[in-house]
Symmetry: D2
Subunit: 364 residues, 4 copies
Amino acid sequence: MSTPDRVSELRTQIDGINTQLLELLNKRASLASEIGKIQASLGSQIYDPVREGEMLTSLEMVNKGPFSNETIKTLFKEIFKATLALEEKQASSKMLVNRKPDQKDTAIVLQDGTQIGGGTFQVIAGACAIESYDQMDAVGELLNEFGIKIMRGMAWKPRTSPYEFQGLGEPGLKIARQVADKYGMQITCEIMDQSQIPMMSDYVDIFWVGARNMQNSFLLRALGKIPQPIILKRGFGNNIKEWLSSAEYIISGGNTNVIFMERGIRTFETETRNTLDISAVPVLKTQSHLPVIVDISHSAGRRDIAVPLARVAKASGADGMMVEVHPNPPVAMSDAKQQLYFDQFRAVMKALKNLHIDTEPETV
Amino acid sequence: MSTPDRVSELRTQIDGINTQLLELLNKRASLASEIGKIQASLGSQIYDPVREGEMLTSLEMVNKGPFSNETIKTLFKEIFKATLALEEKQASSKMLVNRKPDQKDTAIVLQDGTQIGGGTFQVIAGACAIESYDQMDAVGELLNEFGIKIMRGMAWKPRTSPYEFQGLGEPGLKIARQVADKYGMQITCEIMDQSQIPMMSDYVDIFWVGARNMQNSFLLRALGKIPQPIILKRGFGNNIKEWLSSAEYIISGGNTNVIFMERGIRTFETETRNTLDISAVPVLKTQSHLPVIVDISHSAGRRDIAVPLARVAKASGADGMMVEVHPNPPVAMSDAKQQLYFDQFRAVMKALKNLHIDTEPETV
Amino acid sequence: MSTPDRVSELRTQIDGINTQLLELLNKRASLASEIGKIQASLGSQIYDPVREGEMLTSLEMVNKGPFSNETIKTLFKEIFKATLALEEKQASSKMLVNRKPDQKDTAIVLQDGTQIGGGTFQVIAGACAIESYDQMDAVGELLNEFGIKIMRGMAWKPRTSPYEFQGLGEPGLKIARQVADKYGMQITCEIMDQSQIPMMSDYVDIFWVGARNMQNSFLLRALGKIPQPIILKRGFGNNIKEWLSSAEYIISGGNTNVIFMERGIRTFETETRNTLDISAVPVLKTQSHLPVIVDISHSAGRRDIAVPLARVAKASGADGMMVEVHPNPPVAMSDAKQQLYFDQFRAVMKALKNLHIDTEPETV
Amino acid sequence: MSTPDRVSELRTQIDGINTQLLELLNKRASLASEIGKIQASLGSQIYDPVREGEMLTSLEMVNKGPFSNETIKTLFKEIFKATLALEEKQASSKMLVNRKPDQKDTAIVLQDGTQIGGGTFQVIAGACAIESYDQMDAVGELLNEFGIKIMRGMAWKPRTSPYEFQGLGEPGLKIARQVADKYGMQITCEIMDQSQIPMMSDYVDIFWVGARNMQNSFLLRALGKIPQPIILKRGFGNNIKEWLSSAEYIISGGNTNVIFMERGIRTFETETRNTLDISAVPVLKTQSHLPVIVDISHSAGRRDIAVPLARVAKASGADGMMVEVHPNPPVAMSDAKQQLYFDQFRAVMKALKNLHIDTEPETV
């Protein structure tokens, strides 16, 4: 037989085996599915590592090659995994953070009708921390120039050192509320501990989970039980998968109003305070239906590149942008290097206005 | 004049200027120090950025070069910084985490007399999570073979996903306590939220702050008010400076019994779960007087390199080592890949015993 | 005297000292400058650590505080550094990569008049590697649809493993040249070793230094002596400062036509192949006058987010974008996961066309 | 039928299917293997993505579930991968860098009989760069005190900036050779470009590939053709897998005398210049049979923690240590902060001598 003929013949045999494997795999899945249903009705866990171990041992004992036992184990583990995934499909379809097929973007509507997600581009702005009424009022007036509806009202600052300014606390929140009411704005404030929820609920419209608490599961669970929207910042040492799971901690408790905020990750580069992971925006959009905001202040840690970063945020497909602004940045009590001067803030707002993305649908 | 002579003459002039600068700098420091004392007595902040700004502007207005205004500003900012540092010296001598000149290592003595730090090398070991009495008892018996006095008794697991095993909670702690009492051991358990302190105090000898809570300042402050020792793990995205500051949050509250635990940081390397930052041990020893423990399980995320890592931990000058061990690692409910088999654990203990560091003093 | 009066008096004294320090610093700088000129005329190095060491020792011997010797050394080292910087000003004004005050963006003009930098947004595109005439011709035809003028023509692939496809070499370049000539395009090809310069010069319009060679100083120096423009990719482990210095290696040799290409850095995030450091674009624009291109293929390592990343690249203020496209990505011999399908490429080009940035000047 | 009985019955059926799958997988592997042999004899590539694509499409067309087409594709891709791995087994057994089952550590023997690997712990030391005869002679005399046989003789320095000290070049090598001969030592020197091989071969005993050239494949291939041993430093942005592959570039050319040198990777931590990845030592030992040296100078970038890091290097199971030492570190022309004073070097050598690892075999 000629060489090409022999190859062709062998390939036909392989095709036959492929079909048999396909049938057996599906038959196996059906049987496992039935076991899964019985176990679910008994309340026992689907995943059973001991049974898996026994099956692998049996296979190793009868395996005659040419595949090594190690390869056989790897292949069967993949089959077990696929089977388990099938059984857990119902469970995983409960992963509320994930975008279902054809699911649209979720829009989160605030009490005053302001919408985050679903086609808008919201600017969240304000000073790093509440320092005084005058400071907050000056910022409020500035934001009002541009019709901004969500103002930072940070009453606690999670500082690295215990001896640095830690925020004004509840008296600060009173100031923030007063200024927000004057200009018809919503206040967002970082929560540091679940014990603060009742008090903060008197002042705050949007709760904010800081980078350092992104994996504080007790706090996340507690926030799952309140009605207010939650801004969930990414931890600077956390990957996207963990971020999605942290959102799930909140959502699985019943509060579906979660907004992601990308704020840069830690890398070796020191020109910026963190490295803004702008690719995280489209990656999140692919995986989740929830809104994403880009924080251009903490990522950069410097104010001189705010204009291009604002353009980048809008172009990335994010649902909004967060930026810090202060009447007198050099004397700010925290983050002095990154808060914008008022004129810089106006330049940023103009840059956003002057960036247009035509909305005709793309074919991808 | 010959060229070398001219250079020599210029250098003599520079030497004279150096001396004048020295005198002026010290005189300036004395004056600033006096202001600092007045401000401290008035309760006002020492650092005054507005005054600094005014001084810089004055200097810029009279500067005639050859130094540029920018250089002058840089130099005077250094002078301001040095002056501030001098004024804050008293404050900084309050930084309890820092090693004072000639300060010895701090030894933390547990209720049963077991000592962490100050020349001992303690092994902390146990299963990743409490799963059952039998599992804990098997581990306890193993640890007892080697006279180990501190056992993991983890009742809550801070998992990435809300749908993964979250720990047995208080019923688990009852088991851990029972087993610990049987073998005369101390229990360490991770605390997830400050609300757990009273209940946990009934069972737990050493509180443990996990990587995800390293910068949870409300939890740290609360732990500053209890008498039990605290193991403070390094966040996988946190640097050493932040770690020291987190310890200060605890210590400044009154609890000086803080134990650092290095557990690896996040990098691009994927052969290990994290990158063990072994240099952090001598760096911490240089800066702080507190004990340091090396976690060889979470850093590696694999059990096959436990023996060399145990040797490394001991050789680094650490005060101990933490390692996970399980009667049947493949079926463990968490961290299955990194928990040691009992035989591996015995090999690790033998390796530690067989590593000797002669203690005659070095001349550095 | 009242407390405020005393503070005011002390501050006046400090102001006086500030002025004296200023004068002495400038006088010192003038003297040092004269020494510097003498040394330069003698061809000796300006930096003289031994002399610095002697000056510091002298100062330590006469220092009476309150500044500690350590602080005095730190302050004087700053003064030495500033002085040295002044002396090296002429040298540093030779740092050709840096943007001089008010210097405009540099535009690099190719042989056919195509301009990179200075207000244009160039798309550089093509297959990861030259595989065949048909493949290159298909790509050329596609690029020609959009008037693209610069095509990838990669004849050597710097693969991780020596057993992977290493590129077609010179026969590949012949193909690339033929196709480029057919469509009136310029070819860019990565150079792996300085010995390739003469041969490559017969085919290649723009030389390309890959991430793995960004700090190959011998190659960089050699490219400083040729007339062709150089695309200098950022190493995935390199910071911006090192990147600028690598450009300086080329420019200081005489070739000022350097184009930066940002392609992502290594971080712990695994959703993308690398983390695109989009902030590097405005940072580079602040520090340098040279053009910057954003590579959206190697940074992402996946094709499904190409449209938003293309928008981000344009919005960042970059001078262009690089993207890989292949007639049949799944069978590509390298980078199969990131090369675009033709339809995706067309969607990217449409997205770029539909993003408008109004050019009225901003007030920052 | 009772529930447990039904589960038991279903499991028996699954066991039967498992066995059938096993048989089919092995039969499939045999057929594929035969095709592989034919293709190898024809010189065609084993991996055929087009054929794979066709098989997947066929399976998708007949798949009726419950497994989704996506799952089926995933499973069959695993099967294809395992099959390919089997076919490539012979090829992969050519991966000379990998440790074969039961393969012992490779010892590299220098011309004077000095052995690296295979149970010894060699100290490689010397100044960062050759600066003068006196400097090299002082270092040589120091090393000779301790019987050290391998001295740094660095004639080119790959500096970040083109305006920094670049090394003395060939005149430097003459000095290094002269000093080495005086004390009976071997010289190691970094090679920057393949064109330097002939000249360097007159002076240098061990070639050294720096971190910046770790993936310079042309240089690596060239070094594969010379007889001298090669020290291959890890790039600060490179992972272990890439490092092994770079070694393979050298070994596959015929030069099997490759020595790995771990020198730290880039992370966000700034207390040390790089983060020493000490776990890389046991990881490399698991995967490769080649010697590993730990560079405690470039990883730390500071000399005050050299003693504990030296102990760590020895305890890690490495085959040696590299450390920089200089007669007068503060005036060194490069790396001034990390080179040891002579007394520190003596302390390091004493610490190594005083660390004992009993060699009785462990049971793991």
